[in-house]
C-alpha cells in the first residue's frame, strides 16, 4: 500500500492561505487547496505503518493509512467511503480538528508528519463536489424512537448513527438553527456555514427530524419526551462559561467570547445586522485566554477592524517543540500559532488579570495585570505565584473573556433527575454512556466537559451504539475499541 519510498521523496506540504491583509477583509474561508497531484504526493508520504499510531491518536479511529493510500492512487471515491466509515462529518474535522493524529504520526518522530487533516478535508470536499455524498436511509425501521437533545457535533453524529440503525430520530435544538457550537461558535472564516447546511440536508433526507427553537426543559417538557421516546440522548454541550471573579468584571466592555462570537456568526449568517453585533471596530481589544476560542475572537476582531488586538494567557509560554514529558506519540502542549494569530495580535504569557478599570461612564478603559510564575511539585497541583513589581496597566475598550467552560447547564439534569459529577458534567461512563435514569444517555461535552469536536463526534457515535444495544438487545453499529492514546 502507498508508495514505499514516498516519505523520502516528498516534503510535507499543506494548503496555503490567502495573505492576512486580504483575507481579513471578509469572513470567508481563506485556504487555497493543493492541486490534485500534490495531494497525491502528500498521500504517498504515508508509510502504511505496521502500527499506525495516527489511528490511535485520532479519537475517531480514522482509517488513515487506508484513505491516504487511496488518495495516493487517485481513488477518491473509495477514499471517501473509508473516511466515512469512522467519521460522520469529515468536513468539520477536516477544518476544525487540531489533528492529534498528526502528532501521533510515525513520520513525526523525526520528520514533518503527513498532512492527514488536509487530506481528509480534500477527500470529503471532492466527495461533495462529485455528488457522492447522498442520503442513505435505512432499509428497515425498527419502530423505536430516539430524541436527541442538542444539535452540535455530538448530537448530529448520534442522530445519524441511530437513524442508520433504523430508529426514528428527532433532534431538539433550543436555538433557531441547527449546529450548536459549529454554527454559533465557529467563525465563518474557519468554516463557512454552507458546510453545515449541505450535511444537514443529507441528514434530513435520511429521515432525521429536526426541531429548532425547541428548548427542552423550557418550551419542551422533559416528561413528555420521556413518554414519547424510547430513548433520549443528551448532547447539550458544556455551555457554562467560566467567568473571572475580579473587580470590574461587570463593566460595559467586558464581554464573554461566546456572546461576541455568536452574535457575529448570526450577523454573517444574515440573521442580524452589524449594528447588533458586539463590535471591535477601532477598539483596543484584549482577549483573555489563549485557547481556540480566544484565537477565534482575535480573527473576528481583526475582521471588525479593531485598532489593536492583544492576547493574554495565564499559563507560561509553551515550547515550540515537544516538551520532554510529552514525548511522541502523545499529544503535546506546544506553542501554536493559528491563522488568526498571523493576522495581527500581540500575545503575552504568564499574565494574570487583576482588575478591569472603568472610565467615568462605567465603560471599560483599562486592565490591570501582574506577571505570574508557575511552581511545579511532584504529586501536587501546580502553584501560581505572582511576581511582585510586575504590575502593569493596559489600555483597553473591549475585553473578550475566552476562559473556557466549566460544565453543563443544570436544566436538563434537574428536569430528568440526572446525577452530575463534581465537574458539573452529567454522570455517565464510556462503558455505556448511560445516565442514572434508564433510557437516558449523554454524550459529548455534556458528559466529558469541554473538548474537541472530534471527541464530540466520537462520543455521539459510541453512545449511539449503546443506545441501539439498549433498544434492541444487540447492536451492529460500529464501535471503536479502547486504544485511544492517553493524555500525559
Amino acid at each position: 500500500m502507498g508508495k514505499i519510498t514516498g516519505f523520502l521523496e516528498f516534503e510535507r506540504q499543506n494548503e496555503s492561505y490567502i495573505e492576512p491583509k486580504k483575507r481579513i477583509k471578509n469572513y470567508k474561508e481563506f485556504t487555497v487547496p493543493l492541486e490534485e497531484n500534490k495531494l497525491k504526493d502528500q498521500g504517498a508520504r504515508c508509510m502504511d505503518c505496521g502500527i499506525p499510531f495516527c489511528h490511535s491518536g485520532c479519537p475517531l479511529g480514522n482509517l488513515i493509512p487506508d484513505f491516504n493510500d487511496k488518495v495516493y492512487k487517485g481513488k477518491w471515491k473509495e477514499a471517501a467511503e473509508i473516511l466515512h466509515k469512522t467519521n460522520n462529518f469529515p468536513e468539520f474535522t477536516g477544518r476544525l480538528c487540531p489533528a492529534p493524529c498528526e502528532e501521533a504520526c510515525v513520520l513525526g518522530i523525526n520528520e514533518d508528519p503527513v498532512t492527514i487533516e488536509n487530506i481528509e478535508k480534500n477527500i470529503v470536499e471532492t466527495a461533495f463536489e462529485e455528488g457522492w455524498i447522498v442520503a442513505n436511509p435505512p432499509e428497515k425501521r425498527t419502530g423505536k424512537s430516539v430524541a436527541v437533545i442538542g444539535s452540535g457535533p455530538a448530537g448530529l453524529a448520534a442522530a445519524q448513527q441511530l437513524n442508520r440503525a433504523g430508529h426514528t430520530v428527532t433532534v431538539f435544538e433550543r436555538d433557531a438553527r441547527i449546529g450548536g457550537l459549529l454554527r454559533y461558535g465557529i467563525p465563518d472564516f474557519k468554516m463557512e456555514k454552507y458546510v453545515i447546511d449541505r450535511r444537514l440536508k443529507v441528514l434530513e433526507e435520511e429521515g432525521i427530524v429536526f426541531k429548532t427553537n425547541a428548548y427542552v426543559g423550557e418550551n419542551v417538557k422533559a416528561d413528555k419526551l420521556k413518554e414519547e421516546f424510547d430513548a433520549i440522548i443528551l448532547c447539550g454541550g458544556a455551555t457554562v462559561r467560566r467567568s473571572i471573579p475580579i473587580p470590574g468584571a461587570d463593566l460595559n466592555g467586558v464581554v464573554q467570547a461566546m456572546d461576541f462570537l455568536k452574535k457575529n456568526n448570526e450577523f454573517v449568517d444574515g440573521l442580524r445586522d452589524f449594528e447588533d453585533v458586539i463590535s471591535a471596530k477601532d477598539k483596543n481589544v484584549i482577549v483573555i485566554g489563549g485557547g481556540d476560542t480566544g484565537s477565534d475572537c482575535i480573527g473576528t476582531s481583526n475582521r471588525h477592524g479593531a485598532n489593536k488586538v492583544t492576547n493574554f494567557e495565564i499559563l507560561s509560554k509553551p515550547t515550540e517543540g515537544r516538551p520532554a514529558h510529552q514525548p511522541w506519540p502523545y499529544w503535546p502542549m506546544r506553542l501554536k500559532t493559528s491563522s488568526s494569530h498571523q493576522e495581527g495580535v500581540k500575545r503575552f504569557f504568564s499574565v494574570s488579570t487583576k482588575a478591569f478599570v472603568a472610565d467615568e461612564n462605567g465603560n471599560l478603559k483599562a486592565l490591570k495585570t501582574v506577571e505570574v510564575e508557575w511552581i511545579f511539585k511532584e504529586g501536587e497541583r501546580p502553584q501560581l505565584k505572582e511576581l511582585p513589581g510586575t504590575e502593569k496597566e493596559w489600555e483597553c475598550d473591549l475585553a473578550l473573556l475566552a476562559l473556557g467552560f466549566t460544565g453543563a447547564e443544570k436544566t436538563l439534569a434537574d428536569q430528568f433527575g440526572l446525577d452530575m459529577d463534581f465537574r458539573t458534567n452529567i454522570k455517565a461512563t464510556t462503558m455505556d454512556y448511560a445516565t442514572n435514569v434508564p433510557g437516558i444517555f449523554v454524550a459529548g461535552d455534556m458528559r466529558r466537559g469541554q473538548s474537541l469536536i472530534v471527541w464530540a463526534i466520537s462520543e455521539g457515535r459510541q453512545a449511539a451504539y449503546h443506545i441501539d444495544k439498549y433498544l434492541m438487545g444487540e447492536s451492529h453499529l460500529p464501535l471503536k475499541d479502547n486504544s485511544d492514546l492517553p493524555r500525559v
Partner: protein, 1499 residues
Amino acid sequence: MLKKQGLYLPEFEHDNCGAGFICSLTGKRSNDIIHKALEILVKLEHRGAVSSDGITGDGAGILIDIPHKFFKIFCEFELPETGQYAVANVFLPRKENQRQYCIDIFEKEIESQGLELIGWRDVPVNSEILGEIAKTTEPSIKQIFIGKADEKMSDRDFNLKLFAARKITEHIIYDSKLSEAQYFYLPSLSTKIIIFKGLLKPEHINEYYLDLFNSALDTRLALVHQRFSTNTFPTWDLAQPFRYICHNGEINTLRGNVSRMFSREEIIKSDAFGDDIKKIIPTVLKGKSDSATLDMVVELLLMTGRSLPEAMMMLVPEAWEKNPEMSDAKRAFYEYNSCLMEPWDGPASIPFTDGNYIGAVLDRNGLRPSRYTVTKNGNVIMSSETGVVDVKPENVEFHGRLEPGKMFLVDMNEGRIVNDEEIKEKIANKYPYREWLDKNLVHLRDLSAKKGPILYDEIDLKKREVIFGYTQEDLNTIIRPMAQLGKEPIGSMGSDTPIAVLSERPQLVYNYFKQLFAQVTNPPLDGIREELITDISLTLGRDVNIFDINDEHCKKLKIQNPVISKHDLDKIRNYDSNPDFKVETISMLYEVNRGLNELEVALEKLVNQASKAIDEGINIIILSDRYVDENHAPIPALLACSYVNHALHKLKKRSQVSLIIESAEPREVHHFALLFGFGASAVNPYIVNEIVQKQINIKDVTDLEYLTAIKNYNKAIGKGILKVMNKIGISTLNSYRASQLFECIGINTATVDKYFPNTPTRIQGIGLREIEQEIVKRHRKAFRPNQTNLDIEVGGDYRWRRGQEKHMFNPLTIAKLQESVRTNKASTYKEYSELVNNQSKSLMTIRGLFEFDKFDPIPLEEVEPWTEIVKRFKTGAMSYGSISKEAHENLAVAMNRIGGKSNSGEGGEDQERFYKSSQGDWRNSAIKQVASGRFGVTSNYLTNANEIQIKIAQGAKPGEGGQLPGPKVNPEIAKTRNSTPYVGLISPPPHHDIYSIEDLSQLIYDVKSANREARINVKLVSEVGVGTVAAGVAKAKADVVLISGFDGGTGASPLTSLRHAGLPWELGIAEAQQTLVMNDLRNRIVLECDGQLKTGRDVAIACLLGAEEFGFATAPLVASGCIMMRVCHLNTCPVGIATQNPELRKKFKGRPEHVVNYMYFVAQELREIMAKLGFRTVNEMVGQVQKLNRNKAIEHYKASGIDLTPILHRVEVSEDVKLYNTNQQDHNLETHLDFQIIKKAHQALFRRQRTHLKLPITNIDRAVGAIVSNEISKIYGAQGLPDDTINIDFEGSAGQSFGAFTTKGVSMTVHGNTNDYLGKGLSGGKLTIKVPEGCTIVPQENIITGNVTLYGATSGEVYINGKAGERFCVRNSGASAVVEGIGDHGCEYMTGGIAVILGDVGRNFGAGMSGGIAYILDNDNSFIKKCNSADLNIDPISSQEDENQLKVLIEHHFVATSSPLAKQILTEWESYVLKFKKVLPEEYRQALLRLEEEQLKLA
C-alpha cells in the same frame, strides 16, 4: 517405548543412522566378512548415540547369509539342504507363560499354512554386557527353523506362506492384550538371510550374540546398521537392519504413505493368498519407525511378484518429472507408477538385500552420503563413510558414490555390479507402460471446455465475502499481490496476535492448524533452487488392486497444478465423453437456521452422499460450497474435506474416489496446503476468481487479463504449497497429499479424533459447536438489515488496526515501553508491563491463561540481585545486514555492559568489534551464530565467541531460508560477510551439513573444535515433537538448546509462515523440559527460551516451565526505537533500525542505556515475582510448574475449553534427577588428532617456524585442522600464519569435515581420500587430496572426497585429485578449488571464489550461484544441459586474464597433486583451453562493474 504423557507424544521419535554393507563378488563365503562388517559399524560409531546410562546404544545389527554350515553343526536337529528351510531369530516375551503362548500361536499358524516346524534353538547371548536401559527391555531370543511341507513347493510359494504365517501370527499376538505382546518380533524370516540385532553398541554385537564369534560362521554378504535415536527409549525391534532394508535418513512423507497404504488395502486381492489376505492386512503395524514401515511395504510389494529393485524404484523414484534426459521407457515406468504409488520421500539412503541382490538406493535429493569401494580381490564395501574398512591403496579397483535417485546393485548370483541404467531399463521395459499411459491417462489441459447448466445465481459478492470472512487485508495484502505478480506476499517482524482459539474474532478452521516443519532430524528443501526434484502434479480417479500390474492403474486424470480455475473445474465437472470418469458435485452447505446440531448432521449427510455416489460408480467427487443464501451456510471446507476423507477410509471406499474442493474459503497458501494435506486432490477457490475479476474491474489489479491474473494467483499458491512441503522436506505433492503434516491447536480431542484423526492436538479447546457459532456469526452478519455499511472488515491480522485483531505490541504498549526506558522511570515500565500482562491475560497468549500459585513470600532482598539475573538474558539473533550497524552495535554494547549476551545473527561480524574500546565498551557479540548461509563464519569469528549458536530454525519462518538482496549488500556488509558487495546472498533452507541428527552432532563437534571454550547452542522452534528433538540435541552434545516460539521476528518472511508455522514457546519449553527430564538428559544441557518475551512475568512463566536462559529481540528493539513498521524487508525503516540507507540510519536514536534499562526493569519484575513465590535463585525456580495454575477467571466461549494440564505436567522422577543444568557435556575432544599436531608444531605455532609433519589418519579423525586453527586465531587473529608454515601429510581416509575452518598458514595433504564436508568454513588454509602412491585408479573417474565440499569457505585453496560428490563449493564465498569431476548441484549458492572442474559435472549446476567464477572443462559440450543457467553467463575463455587465472590454478593443482589429467591439460594447453567454459553469474558481473566504477570515482 515411553507412553504418552504431558506434552510428550511417542510418535515423534526420530532416528538417523550409519549404515553399510560388504559383500564378495566372487561369491566366496567367509568369516572375515562378518568381522569387516562389524568393523564398519565401529568406525561409524560417531554417527550413533548413547543413552544417559552411558552404555545403551540406540540399536545396531547385522544381516548375513544363512550360515548353513554353522547351523548344521550347532542344531540338535536335522536340517534340509540350504534354501529348503527358513530360519529366524525370534524375540519373545520374557515371561515363560507368555513366551509359550506366542510360540504356540506361531506354531499353529505355521502348521495351518502347511509348513513344517523343524525345530527351535536357544540363541546363546551374553546379557552381561548390556546397559541398564537395554537390560530392562531385553527379550528372550530363540531361533526357529521352518521347512517346506513338501519338496515340490516352489520357493515363491514357500516365501508367500512364510510371510502369511508370520503376519497372521503378529496380528493375533499384538491384538491379544498380552502384557508382553510387544516383545514378540521376528527380525527376519527368510530362506536366504538372517539378522542379529538389538539395543547394542556396535562393538557389543558379537559380544552379545555369541554365535557371531564363531569362526564356523560364514557369509557372502553382510549388511550392518547402527541407529541414532533422538531420545533414549529406543527398542530392540527397531534396531536395524530390517527384513529387506535398512535406512539412513528419515521418511518425511510417512503419514501420507501409511494412510494411503490403508486405502490401498481396501481393494487388495491376491490369488496367492486367497482369503488369508484379509488376515495379513494391515501391512503396516502401528507404533513402528518410518524405516520399519517402509520395510513392511517393501515386503508386501515383493509378495505381489515385483522384484526388490522394482519395488525400490516404485517407492523411491528418482526425480523423473523434470528430467528431459531420461529415456522414455523409464519416464513411462515412473509416470505409470506415480498413478499407484506416491514417493516415500527421504532423505534416505537405503541399503537393501534379499540375499540374491544387495544394493542401495538414494532418494531424489541425494541428501545422505553413500560411498562404495570395489577392491581388486572382489569385495564391495558400501557405507555412509569411506575408509571404514582398511583397504590397501593398491587393492582399490574403484571408488564410487551413490548418486541422487540412483540405484547401486550387486547381483550376488552373477557376481557383478549391475549399473543403475541397466537394471532400471530392464525393469522399465517389462510392460508397455508408455502405451498404457497414452491410451488411458487423461491430462486436464487436453480436456475441452464445455458448459454445463447454470443452476441459479449466486447472491451478491459482498455478502458472500462477509459469510466467508474476507477482510480488506485478504483482498489487498494476500490476493491482490498474488494475482498481480504471481508471488506470495512478504512481511516482517513477528506475529503478535492471539492464536485462533484465543481470538475473540471468528476464525476460519484453517487457523487452528499449524504447519509442521523439518528441524535437525531431516532437512527442509529448497524448491526454488532445486526445482528439478519437485513436482506438484496429481492424478485423480479410482485406485486399483496393487497386486495387479495392468493398464487399469493409469485410467486417471492428471492435473499439473491442482490449484485450478473455475474454468478448469467446469471442464472436469462436465467431462462426460470418457466412461472411465464419473464426476458428481455434492453440496457442502447446511441449513443454518435449523439449530445447533445441524452442522454435525450435515457432515454425516455429506459422507452418506459421498458413499452413495461411490456406490453408483462416481470416481471424482466435487465438494462445493456454492450457492450460500440466507438459509444455507457453508460447512468449513477443511472440516468437510477431512471428514469425508476419513469417513471413506472407515467405509473402506477411499481408494475409489478423488476429492475436488470447490470453495469460497481458501484464499491463502496455508488454506490450500491444509486441504491437500487432508486429502483433497484439487481445489478451485471460486470466490477468489470473482474477487480478482473485480480487482481488475476497479483497477486494483492492473495491466492483466482475467485469465492471466488467475493463472498468476494459482501459480503463486502452487509455489507457496511447494514451500510448505519443502519446509517439512517433501518434494512432491503426490506424497504430501493426505499426509496431515499439521498440528492442531485449540480444538478438543473428541472433535479432532472424529474429524481430523491422527492429528496431534495437545491443549484441547473448541468443538464442533463453537465452530458452528463462528460460522453463524459471520453468516448472520451478512444478512442483517440496515447495513448501510456492508463493507468487509479491515482485518488487522498482519498490521495492527483499531477494533480489529489484537496485537501485543500496539500504540500504547510501545509508547509506554519507549517512555520508560528513555526516562528510566520504573513507574512507567510498570504501566507498560501491566498493559502487556493484562492484555496477555485477556486471551492473547497461553501464558496469559496462567496465574501464579502457592505463594511463599520471602523478602525481596533475599532474591539474587538483578545483576546476576541479567547474565541469563540474551538479545535475539539479528544479523548486521538485516539491521543497521548502529542498531546492531547498540545491542552488543548494552548486553556487554550488563554481562548478558548479544547475538551476531548470521551475518558475520567485523573483527574490529572483537576488541574493547578505550572507554571500556565492547561491541563484540558474545553469541556468534552459525546459520545455513555461513556468512562470515571463519576460524577467527568462532574463536571470538562465548557461545556459538547453530540456528536450525527461526520462529518466524521455520524450515525456510532467507535472502539478502544484492542492493542491500553494501561494501561494509559484504566485508563482514566475506562476500562481494552488491551480490545477493541466499541462506538455504537447510544447513547443507545437517540433514539428520548425526550430522548435527558432527557440526557441534566441528564448531566445538573451532572454539573449545564456547558453549554450543542449538536453536529450535516449538512444534509437536520438539522435546524429542531437544533430547536428540542433548545427545548430540549441544551445551544449550534454545526453543523459540513461532512468533519471533524476522527481517522478511512469507506472510503464511509468520502466522501458520510453529507453535507458542509455552508448549515447546514444557515439552522439551518434560522430555529431557524423562530421559535424565536435562542436567546435561541449558534450556533457553525466546519468542515475544516482553515482561518479567513472561520470563517467570518460561522459567517455571523449564527455561533457565531467556532471549529478547523485539522488545529491546522497541526500546531502541523500533515502532513495528513491519517494513524491514523494504529497507525503509524510518527509525534507522532495519535499514542500510545512510540517510535513514542517521535517524537511529537508540542508546545502550535504553536496552540496559529495559533488561533491568524486566529483571526487577522477575525478582518481585520470585520473592512472592519464594525463590531465591533462578535455578531453584526452573521447572517448578506447581507454582502455576490456570487463571480461573477466564470464561470465554472458546478459551474455556482449553486444558493446560499437559503443559503443567510434572514428570515423575527420582529426586536426584535435576531439573536444570548442572553438568557439562563430555565432548570427547581429547582424542582429537589436532592435539598431536599441536604437540609437534610448537615452533610453528609460536615462532612461525616452517614445520613438516607426517601422520596417519582414519575416518574417525574428524574436523582435523579446526583446533589448530583455533589456536592460531587466538594468537594471530584473522591474519593467521604465513603461508605454508605448518605442513602436514596424512595417509589414509580422513574423517568428516577435514580442514574445517582451517586458517592461513596451515597446509594439509591427504594421501588417500576424505569424507563429507571437506574444507567446511575454510579460512585461508590449503588442502590437497591426492591419490596415494601405489593406487592404480584413474583419478577423474573415482570419488575421492564426499559431499558438500567447501561449505561456507571464505578463503584458501583446495586441490582434489579426483571427483567430489554432491554440492561441491556450496556457498563458497572466497576459496579457490580445483577438482576433477563433481556431482549434482555444484557451486550452489556460491557467492565468491573460483571453482575449476576438470571433468564431469552433475545436474543443476550453479543453482542460486550469485557470485564467484567457475571454469568447466566441457569435453563433450554437454555442460549447458546440466546447468541451472537462467542467471549465469556461460562463455568460452576469451580474455587473457581469465586464461592466465585458469592456467595458474591448474598448474598449482599439478604441483600439489601430480594429477595426470592436469599434466595432460597443461601439455596440450592450446587445444584444451578451447574446451573450457567460464561461468560468471550475471549478478556478479554487474557487481564487479559497479565496484570498478566506484573505484574510478574514488580515484
